[in-house]
């Protein structure tokens, strides 16, 4: 039997396969396609203190090997979230990570505080980096703010806290270190790159918001460089995100230093990708006589 477990702070994941926030809904959308209990951890779509309708269409653009989105964090707000989404999530036998965001320091802490007494939640991911909302990225482009928000969330919860970072900065590790100092148990990287596409017929931006978030296989090389940088500079675990579509992709990230990883855009067109990747990781370990997948973490030969 291959041991696929990985450890993120106090959490033991049965395997390193997680879902990326905003690409797996609230898990229910996938329940008839995937045995949710088999996933290492499920990260839910960002919830905010107040409801948000999201951005006007057009919200998504397909590109070769990638896509743009400007969804704009639509969600029912923390109150309705607790009533409408939490019960189903609690019924899943795996770690549930609630991804939260606020427009200010209080916003993040407020969401976390409201959830703190609910059972069946394993931790929080702080969306410091959604590029589709006004001021959405200041939390993760300014290390002081990132540290302050992390600290304030840290004080509001006993559960593990992951800070999710944007790649659209000069030094991602500077922000990562700030989050580590603020008490984050792990960092998740990367959120989407800022991208744009123009309709040459109408001469309009394809997205209603002009620019949006670029994701998918096309961003994998960038994500890998960022994850490697973080793994070199931080002492807390790094959760890799960015263009992961296959077990081979996931292995690249784990070898480069990621403790776990999240499947994002791939869920849209291969809705069972999480479990395919899990199975293929197991095969890989079997074929290569690796009894413990976690031994691969950071095993890069320089």
């Amino acid at each position: 039997m291959i041991d696929l477990t990985v450890q993120i702070g106090s959490l033991t994941l049965k395997n390193p396969v997680m879902t990326a926030s905003g690409t797996f809904g609230y898990a229910e959308e996938f329940s008839d396609l995937v045995d949710l209990n088999e996933i290492g951890a499920i990260v839910t779509k960002t919830v905010t203190p107040k409801p948000r309708p999201g951005n006007p269409p057009r919200r998504i653009v397909e590109l070769p090997c990638g896509m743009l989105n400007s969804i704009g964090l639509p969600n029912v707000g923390i109150d309705d979230f607790i009533v409408e989404k939490i019960p189903f999530l609690q019924s899943i036998d795996t770690h549930i990570i609630i991804n939260v965001a606020g427009t200010d320091e209080q916003g993040f802490a407020e969401c976390v505080s409201r959830l703190e007494d609910m059972p069946g939640i394993s931790g929080y991911e702080l969306n410091f980096s959604c590029p589709n909302v006004k001021h959405g990225t200041t939390f993760s482009t300014d290390p002081f703010i990132a540290e302050r928000v992390t600290k304030s969330v840290r004080r509001s919860t006993k559960r593990p806290v992951f800070a999710k970072l944007t790649p659209n900065v000069t030094s991602i590790s500077e922000i990562g270190i700030a989050c580590e100092n603020g008490g984050a148990d792990a960092v998740s990287a990367i959120n989407t790159l800022i991208g744009m596409s123009v309709n040459t017929k109408t001469r309009k931006p394809k997205l209603a918001t002009i620019t949006g978030g670029y994701s998918g296989p096309a961003i994998k090389p960038v994500a890998l460089a960022k994850v490697f940088e973080l793994a070199c500079k931080l002492s807390i675990p790094v959760i890799a995100i960015g263009g992961i579509a296959t077990a081979q992709d996931a292995l690249e990230f784990m070898i480069a230093g990621a403790t776990a990883f999240q499947v994002g855009t791939t869920n849209f067109y291969e809705p069972d990708a999480t479990l395919t990747i899990k199975k293929d990781l197991e095969f890989y370990c079997q074929e290569n006589n690796i009894p413990r997948l976690a031994d691969l973490i950071g095993s890069i030969q320089l």
Partner: protein, 269 residues
């Protein structure tokens, strides 16, 4: 509603039925049973690893006796062109059934179907359903030119056809909605009749106005860009006619739709 599934199947047939238009047939017991008109499938474009998203297509028809499913599509871009060149026996990967479907009110006696171009796709399955329910079918069907008409014979065995072409090459010379007005004008009683609409946005906008004007119920199947087709990406937003500002302003075409009541939604460009 039926649960969706990921189905691997093989191509049973592909036929060129009109200009640039194909019917793709594949075998699937699951997808040929318990699906309804208006529902759609997401089909993977094979061979092209740079095309990420599956392509959404209405279920055109089913043949439950033979476990067959038909999709009618237009080769319009790269993905559909690749699909049009598939060969019999090749593998196809399909996710479905997805979305909601057209509803028939229990008092419905006549379905007035308005189809523009490839908007005809869902109505073959609807014909099947209407026949089973003994509901009359009036088919208003407009295309650019006569070589775009699909499956007229198959419709003609049940529906009354009202055809139009933009170039006048067959039927009424003009847009399909021009024919609809006099028809509604002469209707004595609207309560047992309903519009079922699918087609390009300008047509939908016109039908929306007409339906309101003649006070007739109308259901519309909309097409938006879709990354997933099952509510995961939240990309297929359709503006609500009556939003709750700051809270809920959009439906999802793939989950709340693709079929909506005409008066619920706004047609953006």
């Amino acid at each position: 509603m039926t649960l969706k599934r990921l189905c691997r199947s093989t191509l049973e047939n592909i036929s060129h039925v009109a200009r640039n238009t194909y019917v793709l047939t594949f075998r699937s017991h699951f997808l040929s049973h318990g699906v309804s008109a208006g529902q759609f499938l997401e089909i993977k474009v094979p061979q092209c690893s740079d095309i990420l998203w599956r392509r959404p297509f209405s279920i055109h028809n089913i043949d439950p006796e033979n476990d067959l499913v038909h999709v009618l599509f237009h080769a319009i871009g790269r993905g559909t062109t690749v699909l049009s060149m598939l060969e019999i026996g090749e593998g196809v990967e399909i996710l479905g059934p997805l979305g909601n479907h057209f509803h028939y009110d229990e008092h419905l006696e006549e379905a007035i179907v308005v189809a523009g171009g490839l908007g005809i796709a869902p109505f073959m399955l609807m014909k099947r359903e209407l026949r089973q329910r003994d509901i009359k079918m009036q088919l208003f069907y407009g295309v650019n030119s006569s070589d775009h008409f699909c499956a007229l014979d198959q419709f003609a065995d049940y529906a009354t056809l009202h055809l139009s072409t933009d170039d006048g090459s067959r039927g009424y010379h003009g847009v399909v909605t021009d024919m609809l007005i006099p028809y509604l004008e002469n209707l004595s009683e609207n309560a047992s009749k309903s519009l079922f609409v699918c087609g390009p946005t300008p047509m939908l906008r016109t039908v929306q106005t007409i339906a309101q004007q003649y006070n007739i119920a109308a259901q519309v199947s909309v097409e938006t860009i879709m990354a997933c087709g099952f509510g995961a990406c939240v990309g297929c937003a359709v503006p609500m006619k009556h939003p709750v500002p700051g809270k809920k302003e959009y439906y999802l075409a793939c989950k709340d739709g693709p079929v909506f009541h005409m008066h619920e939604i706004v047609f953006d460009d």
